[in-house]
Point group: C3
Chain length 155, copies 3
């Protein structure tokens, strides 16, 4: 794990947001068998989406990557709450769903916005496997949704 993920966050000019309230009838995370599954996180900032639309139409790859980064920041907040601190979080698997037109094929580059933030903040504890896929649409018109499977490192 990173020696001090909060210092890494601060160096990026970031801090953990509040854990976003789930959009519907579920919880932000659930733990079992030493793992934590997170709910899909949208790029909400203070409760509101900054952008809506699809990659290949309303957003380009760089804009999508920034949205993935915002969703990943929410994911880190959920992870920290579930693990009892960011320094106890290890990210195992990330799935990035990217709202995409039929002809947009850079989901992997959009998803890097999430993966790179996680890597910068958590260091070796942020090294993860990942899938990135293009979906037809997402809740509330969000451009991306990011979920993860985590391991909690004993404190």
């Amino acid at each position: 794990m990173s020696a001090d993920p909060h210092a890494q966050l601060a160096a990026l000019g970031l801090s953990l947001p509040e854990v976003p309230a789930p959009a519907a009838a579920y919880q932000p995370s659930a733990a079992a068998a030493g793992l934590v599954a997170t709910a899909g996180q949208l790029p909400v900032v203070e409760g509101a989406l900054q952008r809506t639309g699809r990659l290949g139409a309303e957003l380009d790859t760089a804009e999508g990557a920034e949205q993935a980064r915002l969703a990943a920041l929410n994911l880190l907040a959920v992870a920290a709450a579930a693990a009892g601190g960011l320094e106890r979080v290890r990210v195992v698997k990330v799935t990035v769903f990217v709202a995409s037109t039929d002809t947009f094929h850079e989901q992997h580059l959009v998803a890097n916005g999430a993966s790179e933030l996680i890597g910068m903040v958590l260091g070796p504890a942020g090294v993860h496997a990942r899938s990135a896929v293009g979906v037809s649409s997402l809740p509330l018109g969000a451009p991306v949704e990011v979920e993860a499977i985590l391991e909690v490192v004993p404190g």
Copy 2:
């Protein structure tokens, strides 16, 4: 876990169906490391889909939520078979894939049809993390597909 999930089911006028036969070359569930992964469940009733089509076109949000509820009932049947009884099932993570037009953005409300049934039947053991995404199409034209990661509670 719920004291008596079968009583909860009965109070809803429901009972567990037979475990649906997989549509292809796989099994309804597989267990490892204290967890169970289910196959994606479609809203089949006695072997047949009740509705086909996409949200935003052939189905509205309420109709989609009812289909998600049907898929979740099949999921509970799979879970009960895998765990050796519904009272031993704890639901950790649910993913709801919703066949959606590009402009349909209420996947989270459709998915509530699944989450709310699971919560009503299993009580605290049904509290889960969740992702809901809109996909272009699903096997057999199904409007929703619901999968889960479960934990088996010692009997």
Copy 3:
């Protein structure tokens, strides 16, 4: 597990490819709590996609199944590397994302290309739960992406 998965591969005229390099900022797999999560695998052969496009447009079901088989061969390579040998791999859950038009509904048959290869190579250790969904598009224009959750069998 299969007595000799390499013999099964050879009988199919196949051998494990090199582990494909991730398309972006992540790792091919990550282990935690006795499980391994793989990254989504594309049907690349020697670093290049053989086909691009969607099911229901550029590819038919049989062609999609062949692409799923190629992606699953890469998945087996990732699995073998993660587990310390193919004979130590047990496949628990497979998810197959199929780039699909709105009206293509045979994702389950496309996904059989992956499931059947895994079953032939690994025997009982390849029996898995599975989800197959149709997505709007995939990285690099790939027709399919296949990911898995694995268990490592003690050697």
